[in-house]
């Protein structure tokens, strides 16, 4: 009896600890991040809007594929014009591949003509870990009620070849189109592709 009771306590504790894993359909973990202009943004304050999270690393060939081709910039332009909030998030730790100071990041944005709502600098990986962001790019779409409605790859061609973009099905655009039309998201989860996010202590 006592052992059964303790087993029940353990089971309860175990579920409590596993409850915060990120899952499509679940509330998006709230965060406050500082952007490359020093301004802070809190996710929950964008309630009522569609939010896109894009993990980035300017040195990653998969990210480069979408910036060199202008694909990412045009997505950012197209969707922010429709009122979508677009956060590009940089979770590379200092001394790790792709890490940038605010000034370096601003120079990069200018050079690439990128136009996200903001680039959040996350050198501690706090936001990245909260979302379990795995790759660059790794995309999330959060609906106006604060639920994650899409997580995964940017498109269906996991390559570094810019010529593949034309023939790719862009999952993020599809999800945003469906969300704006109030429709169910047809493809809500895919395996993200790209380089690993370069978190603190991820490698020597």
């Amino acid at each position: 009896m006592l052992r059964l009771q303790s087993a029940a306590i353990v089971a309860l504790l175990a579920t409590a600890f596993s409850a915060y894993a990120v899952r499509v359909g679940d509330p998006a973990p709230d965060f406050t991040g500082v952007d490359s202009h020093g301004q802070s943004h809190t996710l929950s304050s964008y309630h009522g809007k569609l939010v896109v999270l894009e993990w980035t690393n300017s040195n990653c060939p998969f990210t480069k594929k979408h910036y060199d081709s202008g694909n990412m910039q045009s997505l950012q332009k197209q969707w922010t014009a429709k009122g979508v909030v677009w956060f590009t998030i940089l979770s590379s730790a200092p001394d790790h591949d792709g890490y940038k100071t605010a000034a370096e990041e601003n120079a990069y944005i200018a050079k690439e003509h990128a136009s996200p709502t903001a680039v959040l600098l996350d050198p501690t990986g706090k936001i990245g870990h909260a979302y379990e962001a795995k790759t660059t790019p790794h995309m999330f779409v959060i609906d106006p009620t604060g639920k994650i409605v899409y997580e995964g790859a940017i498109d269906d061609h996991p390559t570094t070849d810019t010529s593949d973009i034309k023939s790719s099905k862009n999952y993020v655009s599809d999800a945003l189109t469906e969300a704006l039309a109030g429709k169910q998201i047809a493809t809500s989860y895919t395996r993200p592709y790209g380089c690993s996010v370069k978190y603190q202590n991820s490698a020597e």
Binding site: L2, R3, Q5, V10, S196, A203
Partner: protein, 708 residues
């Protein structure tokens, strides 16, 4: 003579062409950043109806890797596009068994150092060579990563002699043939017939069981599908008598149970099987070979005997000693009967625990032996029981006159009931003292079939009962005990001292898991028990007094349960100075192992007395600390004060089920970890550290296996 000369010149010509082909690496091999890639085509001649295996070979700089067909959390596998003459066709690139490549919180699957991807090639029966040579050309794309990822591409081509018919003696390009042959064993094989792969879904993921025909103690599963499993999650393995079972964690986003788990099962010896596991009853492991079973049962028996000497069984032995002194007035046969009833009491309670363990294990809980002391309610009730027992022994009241509720009173009852419950009590109190042998025996038992678990626990129980049984059968030895007399009362009162000592330990444990507020509840319960004891002692044998005492005992139990549930605060889990120690995660250990750094893992819990003793007396000693520092060992502490599934799994992987457990991983990823004894001495720790490879070879190791 002429004909012979002709033959020789033909042979020379063949040799010459052979050499020419072998010396043609310019276009078949390309050096790129951090790797060289080579097209490998073993046959020297290509002819109609021929089937052979070509390959794509990568030689990588240390630390860099390319990917398996499912790259894991990041990365992409290489791709290959052939340009071939009419009549020659290829199958898809085949992927050898990969390695797990941990990367912070992520897990990739791929290859380090070198890898050859075989490609089966078929030449059609109507193949007509258009020239003397035929060209195999391929465009290859890959992603090579260390910390950074670099995509690469190359156009490779290689020429081979073309024949319009099968030659009498086909030739091979030795270097290419050797290369393909060297990697032939790395390819996954189908599961041998007669074996099966099944999986069962549970809340966290799947249990996958695969039979291979023999006991497997080391296996990893690599899924082909990318969105079914969580890649970095540890895969707790359980050897079966004829295979292995793995606990797999599902991808957070997986909503439906897949129809099959398709992937590679890679065993400790490198053998890889491609398995298509279907849902269904898991193939269970029956009893293992009798030799090792007998050995383990023997160890369990000795462990049981040693349990008698452990400090937490001591008070019970004292009680038992007392009743033995009383029994010596009885005739011989009665004493033997008492011995057997005591044995039965121990057996019954061990069997009850086995039954519970099996039920809970079935429910998917990886429970450790010391676990019952993770329940504050259990600790509180044990403390109350022993405190009440102590009051009686100290002489406040006579137990057994009217009380029937508490197990302690049952244990000190005269007659068979008393003997039976003393046996039960001995077992209950013995559990936290995971003596040497016991941890190993239980770890073994938990990973085995119900039958083996039963056998091991039975042996433990018999070992625990043996000394007393022996005494009951050898009255001569009983004579060594002092004659009964007035000293017995003194002895009985003296026994209350270790009992109260045990109570202090239990109260300390209780505070560790619930905090100071709940302690007030427990101490108040003690006060109520003391009043109940005083009532029983003041008016002995009176029904009214017994009823009144019971009315005090019930709220005492109530208060302590209430205290646990309402007043408990989250404890600060670690007690010892923890700044040098990193908290345990399986990923952390895998990461350091991949870096080739030695790691010392201390599996501990604040309720584990021997853990505290080891930490304070051995691990925190200045000279031991100095050795730990000098050897460059990473210190990791797995705190099991509160039940933690990943720690339970890590212990199960080591074949253990309880704390203390001390594990030393050497810098070499291929060397199995060394499990140190449960009772540490400075000599054991320093000796184990001195046994590690020297720092120079460690730094060489780092160069070879730096993670991505």
């Amino acid at each position: 003579m002429r004909a012979r000369l002709h033959l020789v010149s033909l042979f020379l010509l063949a040799l010459l062409t052979h050499l020419t082909y072998a010396q043609q690496p310019a276009s078949s091999t390309v050096s790129a950043q951090h790797l060289t890639v080579q097209l490998v085509v073993p046959p020297a001649e290509i002819y109609p109806g021929q089937n052979f295996t070509a390959g794509l070979y990568f030689k990588l700089e240390p630390g860099w890797h390319v990917y398996w067909t499912n790259a894991g959390d990041s990365g992409e596998p290489p791709t290959m596009k052939w340009t071939l003459p009419q009549g020659i066709s290829t199958e898809a690139l085949q992927f050898p068994a990969p390695k797990r490549l941990p990367l912070g919180p992520l897990m990739d699957f791929g290859y380090e150092k070198e890898v050859l991807f075989p490609v089966p090639i078929h030449v059609a029966a109507d193949f007509k060579p258009s020239a003397d040579t035929t060209t195999f050309a391929a465009k290859v794309n890959w992603l090579v990563c260390r910390e950074v990822c670099i995509p690469g591409k190359a156009a490779l081509s290689i020429d081979r002699k073309a024949l319009s018919a099968t030659p009498d003696v086909p030739h091979q390009i030795a270097a290419d043939a050797q290369l393909v042959a060297r990697f032939a064993d790395t390819l996954p094989k189908p599961l041998p017939s007669g074996n099966q792969a099944r999986f069962a879904a549970n809340t966290k993921g799947f249990t996958l069981a695969v039979t291979t025909g023999k006991r497997e103690s080391g296996a990893q599963f690599f899924p082909f599908e990318q969105t079914i499993l969580s890649n970095p999650a540890p895969q707790a393995e359980k050897p079966l008598s004829n295979g292995v079972s793995l606990d797999l964690t599902k991808d957070e986003n997986l909503r439906t149970t897949p129809k099959e788990l398709h992937g590679l099962l890679v065993l400790a010896d490198g053998t890889a099987y491609e398995v298509h596991a279907t849902p269904g009853p898991l193939p269970g492991g029956s009893s293992t070979d009798l030799g090792s079973l007998a050995k383990i049962v023997g160890l369990a028996f000795i462990g049981g005997i040693i349990l008698n000497l452990m400090p937490c069984v001591f008070p019970v032995l004292f009680i038992k000693g007392l009743s033995l002194v009383q029994s010596s007035q009885h005739e011989r046969s009665k004493m033997r009967a008492h011995g057997w009833v005591y044995t039965l009491g121990i057996l019954a309670s061990f069997w009850a625990v086995v039954a519970l363990l099996l039920i809970l294990r079935g429910a998917g809980h990886q429970l450790g032996w010391g676990f019952q002391f993770q329940s504050p309610t259990f600790i509180a009730l044990m403390a109350l029981l022993l405190f009440f027992l102590g009051l009686s022994l100290a002489g406040q009241f006579e137990i057994g006159l009217s009380l029937t509720s508490a197990g302690g009173s049952l244990a000190s009852k005269q007659g068979y009931t008393g003997s039976f419950f003393t046996g039960v009590l001995a077992m209950v109190v013995a559990t936290p003292c995971t003596a040497p042998f016991m941890g190993a025996a239980i770890g073994y038992a938990l990973s085995q079939s119900a039958f083996v678990t039963f056998a091991v626990f039975t042996a433990l129980a018999l070992g625990l009962a043996a000394p007393y049984l022996l005494l009951a059968y050898n009255p001569a030895w009983t004579k060594l005990l002092p004659r009964p007399g007035a000293w017995m009362e003194v002895l009985k009162q003296a026994v209350s001292i270790p009992i109260f000592g045990t109570v202090i330990w239990l109260v300390w444990l209780f505070t560790q898991t619930t905090g100071p507020n709940a302690l007030i509840g427990l101490l108040a319960a003690f006060l109520l028990l003391a009043i109940a004891g005083w009532v029983l002692g003041r008016w002995p044998g009176k029904t009214l007094a017994a009823v009144f005492a019971a009315l005090l005992i019930l709220p005492a139990i109530g208060i302590s349960i209430y205290a646990v549930q309402r007043l408990a605060t989250q404890p600060s889990s670690s007690t010892a100075a923890a700044k040098d120690w990193q908290p345990f995660t399986p990923a952390l250990v895998e990461q350091y192992r991949a870096q080739g750094r030695p790691i010392f893992v201390d599996f501990t819990a604040s309720w584990c007395l021997s853990c505290q003793v080891n930490e304070r007396v051995v691990l925190n000693r200045a000279d031991v600390q100095q050795h730990l520092k000098n050897s460059g060992v990473v210190l990791v502490r797995a705190d099991w004060t509160r039940h933690d599934e990943t720690i339970a799994q890590a212990l199960a992987n080591l074949g253990r089920s309880g704390v203390p457990t001390y594990v030393l991983y050497s810098g070499d990823a291929n060397t199995p970890p060394q499990v140190l004894p449960e009772v540490l001495t400075p000599g054991i720790v320093i000796g184990a550290l001195d046994g590690l490879p020297k720092p120079q070879s460690q730094s060489a190791q780092v160069n070879h296996s730096t993670p991505p």
